[in-house]
Symmetry: none
Subunit: 234 residues, 2 copies
């Protein structure tokens, strides 16, 4: 369906290199792009400085224990919603539940089948139903279930139309959307508003994003429409 290449980045935190490599291979083959890390503290740094869509976290890693890392993660404003799969050899039920209690979204027993790894990753990404995006230093996160958008973990107050508009523009980054297209998909095919109305709603959306220095994400393409862009100059 979508031609958009998978901009999905997965961070694998795993100290046993062969296993990490195995994961990497299988996930790359499925089209994901991967970052590896073998140390807990380093992982924190990476998570703070970069942006990943999913975290594969081994329970037993040097530096910080997996659970500690997870707990830390859930306390970070901008990371608390990140999907996490715990990887551990401790297959006992109570251990698993303990991980889930701490906020892991899923659990992968070790040793694992490549297929199971892939299935869980895909399932979790599907389940999380978020769109996120890194613009300069900020992360925009659109939660389609909750119908809310966050920047750096801070909830934006978006009105229904503004939210749908953002959703629609982010759906296909960088593609220009005509006013008519937006009217059809955001307002609905059978609404009777004039094209200029789009301008006003774009304005309102921009105003909110501006509070986070992201107003320029929405680029006007004269004569054509609007486009969402993450390569803006600060």
């Amino acid at each position: 369906m979508e031609k958009t290449l998978k901009k999905v980045d997965i961070l694998i935190v795993e100290d046993e290199a062969p296993i990490a490599r195995l994961m990497e291979i299988h996930l790359q083959r499925a089209g994901f792009s991967i970052a590896l890390c073998g140390d807990g503290h380093q992982a924190c740094q990476l998570l703070e400085q970069n942006h990943y869509r999913l975290l594969l976290l081994d329970r037993m890693i040097p530096g910080l224990r997996g659970l500690d890392l997870l707990r830390w993660l859930r306390k970070q404003k901008s990371l608390k919603k990140m999907p996490v799969i715990m990887v551990t050899a401790l297959a006992q039920t109570e251990e698993r539940i303990r991980g889930l209690n701490e906020g892991a979204d899923d659990y992968l027993p070790k040793p694992f089948e490549p297929d199971e790894l892939l299935a869980r990753v895909k399932a979790l990404l599907r389940r999380s139903n978020h769109q996120h995006l890194k613009v300069n230093q900020s992360i925009i996160d659109v939660d389609n279930d909750a119908q809310e958008a966050c920047v750096q973990g801070e909830r934006l107050h978006l009105r229904p139309l503004e939210f749908k508009l953002l959703q629609r523009l982010m759906k296909k980054m960088g593609k220009v959307r005509s006013r008519q297209y937006l009217l059809d998909h955001v307002w609905g095919i059978n609404s009777f508003v004039e094209e200029r109305t789009v301008d006003v709603t774009i304005k309102r959306l921009r105003k909110t994003l501006d509070k986070y220095g992201l107003g320029d994400c929405i680029v006007t393409v004269r004569g054509s429409g609007y486009r969402f862009d993450n390569k803006i100059k600060p």
Copy 2:
């Protein structure tokens, strides 16, 4: 008006006072309310006359041996489903299995780590058809079997519809539920009430939750429906 009696979450049956106290402290810190008892026969009385959500049972207690108490418990109609964690210094596998055979749901070796105690309690509560959730400082606990909900161990007086509504909203945290969805799943697919009725029931549910400062958990999503949220600003 105040028919809501204080409800105790966990009964600890343990004759060694320091250990009992230790358990109490850690569980209270996690938001549970605790009752203590050092004698087997007295424990039976308490169990008959009060209502607990979980039983922490030491194997070696005066009056009745732990296993006897457990056996008795499983014969009582109203108690046979109660979640029980056996606490014992006898860490041998066969002893453990014996306890489980008699109907203990889980097993805690003595001495124990506070974390493990907590993890097992939480895990067992979860397994036994409860949903619980931490919002700010409060714990909301929904017991799907007993059809009742508690905040900080205090039983909420919820009318049937309100309870089902809460259940449904908590089932998938943070997901927006449309009025129609709620009508279908709370009122039932073939009921003939209008959508506005949902508003009123939400209002009534909120009013109850408000007594615990949790009224804001249920967020209105204009144009879409309602959503249960645990990220509320205090």
